[in-house]
């Protein structure tokens, strides 16, 4: 008898639960590195009386793939986290509703590099070589100023990079070398790097924490491909308070690749009106101010505040490497394949 009661109870509970279901949440698909403050999100939720649900879906590539594979029945309203290396794939799959959010006029000029309004830039950053300042001081070595300098035997075996086929900073760095040497010349440069003992890790975590000598792992290479803001993060997340960062970036011409991250409203979104509001919100100062310390990238809104640590410890390249997104789309596969060919033999 008791068992029967239990079944009835569960059944009843299920019915009541499904009838009194809360209003549909606004679903935002993101990559796993998305981070923001709780108060910023709850402010939006309170203002619009909606619940925000985030759907972390792996790295940037996997997230976009998930959106493409679920194109016919989208499981989210907004997608955040397409970067400029994946931009063309996202646009050609026709995933997004055109929309120009409020606040678009406040965007910094150098992130507006493609036509149309299917995607909106939200943040940007630079992929640069970071170096271990202490190592260069102790060895009394000059810091390399250009890509060509890296081919000097003085720096033999001192640089660790990531595999562009498995890592997004790795791909960004490959694209920087293509900006510098052109699609015809970059492989010759990489051959030189290989001869000069460049170390290749598959992911950023290994490169930064196992190979790099300037951070917590105390590895073998004093130069690593990372982000322009990593030196600031080293100060912010230092175990003991630091006056200056243990690392710095090489910001010579074309040495830092500009990575831009975009968001857009998915076609077939159930909450189109709210999705638009959220797009506006992502460009607002409130949201943009919160981006740097959470994701260690720069806000696209020029009215947003840049944290003190960024200004003091993160260098901004005067001439970042920027490649045409269509050119990237057309050649991405070939470039990566040729690179792999060089490094698997």
């Amino acid at each position: 008898m008791k068992f029967k009661h239990m079944i009835l109870f569960l059944f009843g509970a299920a019915v009541i639960f499904s009838c009194t279901a809360a209003p549909q949440p606004l679903v935002v698909m993101t990559h796993d590195s998305f981070a923001i403050s709780e108060s910023v999100i709850s402010a939006f939720e309170e203002e619009h009386g909606v619940e925000l649900t985030f759907l972390p879906s792996g790295d940037a590539g996997s997230t976009l793939n998930r959106a493409i594979l679920s194109k016919d029945a989208p499981v989210a309203d907004v997608l955040y986290g397409v970067d400029n290396t994946f931009l063309s794939r996202a646009l050609s799959e026709d995933l997004f509703l055109p929309y120009t959010p409020d606040g678009f006029e406040n965007l910094v000029a150098d992130v507006l590099n493609f036509p149309g309004n299917q995607l909106t830039p939200i943040d940007f950053g630079y992929v640069c070589i970071n170096y271990d300042k202490a190592y260069f001081e102790e060895q009394d070595l000059d810091v390399p100023q250009t890509f060509d300098d890296l081919l000097d035997p003085t720096y033999s075996g001192l640089l660790v990079v990531q595999n562009p086929a498995t890592s997004s900073p790795g791909l960004a760095f490959l694209l920087a070398t293509i900006t510098e040497y052109g699609p015809e010349g970059y492989l010759a440069f990489w051959e030189g790097l290989k001869e000069n003992g460049v170390v290749v890790a598959n992911d950023w975590e290994t490169a930064y924490y196992t190979n790099f000598s300037g951070s917590a792992g105390e590895g073998s290479q004093p130069m690593v491909v990372s982000y322009g803001t990593s030196p600031a993060a080293e100060v912010i997340f230092a175990e003991a308070e630091l006056e200056t960062s243990p690392t710095a970036s090489l910001v010579g011409a074309n040495m830092c690749f500009q990575q831009i991250e975009y968001a857009g409203i998915l076609k077939g979104a159930e909450q189109e009106a709210l999705a638009k509001k959220f797009m506006d919100y992502m460009l607002s100062e409130e949201f943009q101010n919160d981006i740097p310390m959470n994701m260690f990238v720069y806000p696209v809104n020029r009215l947003a505040e840049i944290p003190r640590e960024f200004i003091e410890f993160a260098q901004v390249p005067k001439k970042p490497a920027i490649l045409d997104t269509d050119l990237i789309a057309e050649n991405r596969e070939t470039w990566i394949a040729s690179w792999r060919e060089l490094f698997t033999n």
Binding site: S39, T166, V200, E205, E218, F237
Partner: protein
């Protein structure tokens, strides 16, 4: 006459019941393995983009990854077996101080995410690792003598680190259950120790050795994280290639082809191992453990016990120790040789949400989620495995087919299965909300092959005359199972439970792709921290990893202690 008819009827009822029981795992696999796989296969075939035609260049990539998968899996399995079989003998035959602890430690690597294992090895044998520092100081060297990362050696070492415990648990448990009387009898008949091993012990152990070899080979063959993190860009297994083709190029055709190739070779390997295992089955009543385990009495045995333990300490205990040590030190201490300052700062920091982060993971929440998932995955896989083992006992054909079926998830590309899960079970918003419920299901899918491989041989080893006798006496089947079979397989059942728990808790191998960070677990928390630059983040990741280790240790101890609960005779 009437009595014989009665007997036959009873046995037939048992067979019919068994068939029904078998239906449960069949349905489970159909819905959670075949359905998502068909979904992704269909989607791959639909991709008609000419950009993704199977070009000759792609074929070269495919061929290279197949060759490397075999090479490294073969080498890894051979090396693991060379250590694993003696280690199984050690745990299956000897009593020595610290036996339980060593056995526990050897299973712990199983749950550690590769990124943590890489960190542990770095703390030990990295350029500024303790062993290298020691060697440099001791031999007055200017360069670190051990250069591990980015070599095939690192991949092999990590595979041995991860998989030795499979031999210890699968073969060791079988060894423990072998009746020493048989061996003693052979010795009395003046067989040499080697002859005894070759003619008596080895044939009896063969099924479990083959099981262990097969499992280890498949783990190595489909290896992903170890190859990526320990190897470097020049190495790619089929699974790594599938990952690159899928996430980087969305080339589902090539990825699909590679998945098929990987699955094909996995099935072939399973069939070969089944084929080799064709020795007539000798059911034996398990020996009481007290009888099987002896103190090492001769000098040679003492040296053996010492030697194997030494290797296990160096290979397994030291990296784990390095990880724990690293978590209670600050970065200032690394690379220096002086006095170490211990501090629990890393452990304090993980409890503080300094920046009001939306995705902050409180350690206890992560711990709770991890343990709940692991318990659920354990329950599902044990129930399914028992159904498979009991259900397929009615016909050897059904048994063979089920055996291959159950192994399929292990040989399947994790990336592909993960995508299949997304396509099949997250096709609408309502489904997305319930998707996390599927995480333990996905974990149990990966744990099932191991669990079946441990439970099935034990159940088969129960002499059927005991069953028939009981049935003839009119004992109901279910009761018979409860009273006779269950107590006899208690030990393997516990081993199996430990593995299922570990596979889920550590989100081992393929389960990485099936886990979703919406409900954060301990591995998810580790990845969150280690994905950001800065000493604090690295320290927090190490502290979380140690919590994962402790949770797992506690789980293992709890499960092991279940065997001390007396089963009513």
């Amino acid at each position: 006459m009437a009595r014989i008819v009665h007997q036959l009827m009873a046995i037939r009822t048992k067979d019919r019941l068994n068939r029904l029981v078998l239906l449960i795992p069949v349905l489970f696999l159909l819905s959670f393995y075949f359905f998502p796989m068909i979904k992704i296969a269909y989607r791959s075939l639909m991709q008609t983009d000419s950009l993704f035609a199977l070009k000759g260049e792609n074929m070269r990539i495919a061929w290279r990854s197949i060759r490397f998968s075999f090479l490294q899996a073969f080498l890894s399995t051979v090396i693991t077996a060379c250590l694993g079989v003696p280690a199984a003998y050690l745990f299956g035959r000897f009593i020595f101080p610290g036996r339980k602890i060593m056995r526990l430690i050897s299973t712990l690597p199983f749950i550690l995410p590769t990124v943590v294992v890489a960190a542990a090895f770095n703390a030990l044998v990295g350029k500024n690792g303790w062993i290298n520092l020691f060697l440099m100081r001791f031999f007055d060297l200017s360069q670190a003598p051990i250069q591990l990362f980015g070599t095939l050696g690192a991949i092999l070492l990590a595979h041995v680190f991860y998989n030795t415990s499979i031999f210890i648990r699968v073969v060791g448990t079988a060894w423990e259950r072998l009746d020493t009387n048989t061996e003693d009898a052979a010795r009395v008949l003046s067989a040499s120790p080697w002859q005894t091993f070759k003619k008596v012990t080895f044939p009896l152990l063969l099924p479990s050795i083959l099981s262990a070899v097969l499992l280890v080979f498949l783990f190595d063959f489909t290896s992903f994280g170890v190859i990526l993190l320990m190897g470097g860009a020049q190495f790619a297994t089929i699974e790594v290639e599938i990952y690159i083709q899928t996430t980087q190029f969305l080339n589902l055709r090539l990825a699909g082809l590679l998945s098929l190739i990987q699955l094909f070779f996995s099935i072939i390997t399973s069939l070969i191992s089944k084929r080799l295992d064709n020795a007539p089955f000798v059911p034996i009543i398990p020996a009481s453990i007290e009888k099987a385990l002896r103190k090492p009495d001769t000098r040679r045995k003492k040296i053996f016990v010492f030697f194997i333990n030494g290797i296990l300490v160096i290979l397994i205990a030291m990296p784990l120790g390095a990880l724990i040590l690293r978590s209670v030190l600050t970065s200032e201490n690394i690379g220096s040789y002086g006095t170490l300052d211990f501090s629990l700062a890393n452990y304090q920091r993980i409890f503080v949400n300094e920046r009001d982060a939306l995705f902050f993971v409180p350690p206890f929440t992560a711990l709770r989620n991890s343990i709940l998932f692991a318990l659920a995955a354990m329950a599902i896989s044990i129930i399914m495995a028992i159904c498979v083992a009991v259900g397929s006992s009615w016909s050897s054909r059904a048994g063979k087919i089920m055996d291959v079926f159950v192994m399929l998830p292990l040989g399947t590309s994790a990336v592909t299965l993960g995508l299949g899960f997304l396509l099949a079970f997250s096709a609408s918003r309502a489904m997305v909300a319930y998707f996390p419920v599927l995480i333990p299901v996905a974990h149990s899918l990966i744990a099932l092959p191991i669990v079946v491989r441990i439970i099935q041989p034990a159940l088969q080893a129960i002499p059927s005359n005991q069953h028939d006798a009981a049935i003839t006496l009119g004992v109901p089947y279910a009761r018979l199972w409860w009273k006779l079979d269950l107590p006899m397989i208690k030990k393997p059942l516990i081993t199996a439970a430990i593995y299922a728990f570990a596979v889920s808790l550590g989100e081992f191998g393929a389960t990485t792709f099936l886990s979703r960070p919406e409900i954060p677990t301990l591995p998810v928390a580790i990845f969150r921290y280690i994905g950001l630059p800065g000493q604090e983040n690295y320290g927090k990741a190490m502290a979380m990893a140690v919590i994962l280790l402790l949770a797992c240790t506690a789980g293992f101890v709890a499960i092991e202690n279940l065997q001390d609960i007396p089963v009513r005779e």
